[in-house]
Symmetry: C2
Subunit: 213 residues, 2 copies
């Protein structure tokens, strides 16, 4: 016996690309396009009421990002499976999607057969990750695991900011109305948390970790 047709919803803000997707799915009898939108907010609303089998979402949409729509769908406990489509392969974005329970993550330069096949696989409960995505994801996971966020205290963060602005310890002491000795103590603690032993390196490390700027 044959299963019912797979209902799909398309969230994609580029009209031409959307048109291409619609045509691709219409060309295969096992799919049924039940709706589409170029706005994340509207897409989420319609997905909630239509409850399609699969929602294909572009990460870059006005209103809500694909990942936000994904998160909302999963928070609701809906059975709708989500396929993310993204032009770039940003490891952080991929990571978030996977963490949120995405069923497939494909790049937008995939051809129609690849996309349709992936959606079919997702409808059967499988998970599909594009090869380019897998590499980035592995790196991201490794990164997050043994990083264990040192998390600077508010005071330390404040002092590191001033240091990055070029202020010396005495400068900062005046600025914060504390003694130079205290500033130096904070700096030493910052160095330890960041695994460095000097101002410039601390600033570089902090910026790489997104703690600064």
């Amino acid at each position: 016996m044959k299963a019912a047709r797979v209902s799909v919803y398309l969230g994609e803000d580029h009209p031409i690309y959307l048109e291409g997707l619609v045509r691709a799915f219409r060309a295969r009898a096992e799919f049924e396009v039940v709706g589409s939108s170029g706005d994340g907010r509207q897409a989420l609303d319609e997905i909630r009421s239509l409850a399609p089998d699969v929602a294909i979402l572009d990460e870059n949409m006005p209103g809500l990002r694909g990942n936000d729509v994904l998160a909302a769908i999963k928070r609701d406990g809906m059975p709708t499976r989500v396929v993310m489509l993204s032009a770039s392969v940003d490891s952080a974005v991929v990571f978030r999607a996977v963490a949120n329970g995405v069923s497939a993550y494909l790049t937008k330069d995939s051809d129609r057969a690849t996309i349709c096949d992936a959606v079919a696989a997702v409808a059967r409960g499988q998970t599909v990750l594009a090869p380019q995505v897998q590499a980035g994801l592995a790196g991201e996971v490794r990164l997050r695991e043994h990083e264990t966020r040192p998390a600077l205290s508010p005071r330390e963060h404040e002092i590191l900011e001033q240091t990055a602005s070029g202020l010396s310890a005495p400068d900062i002491a005046r600025e914060l109305q504390i003694s130079t000795a205290t500033v130096k103590t904070h700096l030493r603690n910052i160095y330890e948390k960041l695994g460095v032993s000097e101002r410039a390196a601390a600033v570089a490390e902090a910026m790489r970790r997104g703690l600064l700027e």
Copy 2:
């Protein structure tokens, strides 16, 4: 009397988007699609031999970026006019395209009518810039005018990198087999170029400008 049909060449690496473009142009009798490719290098070769009236290029293509193809076409002195299509609006990319003599710069979320009309206008010798693009361009021009890119020399960049790694001037001197005095001179020049007066601030500023990391 009516002019001859406008021959267009399409450089676009997303199969689905390319398909959409081809369909859009075929639907209007005044255009004739003479070729297409998803690879920048191949696109340039074919444009050189086909000499279309207008070449529509995606900025993000494997082989050669849209801007590189544009530069090559203009370097050759070809009469082919170029329309750039880009998903993101990166001011630096827009600036380069305009500097290279692009005839139109559109975003990929434009609808088919907008794109086709722009190409028709370009064929008549007009220049078209999408609204989102104009704002960024204005900003970029302003930026370049009174900023005059400090652009660190290779040696300076090298020394700044080591500084960001936590090395002291004597350390760097040993590393690079030069005297400490020279390292300090380079550092002072770096400070001046970046508008700071201290290592940590230099590192912070360099990272913000994308010179580091």
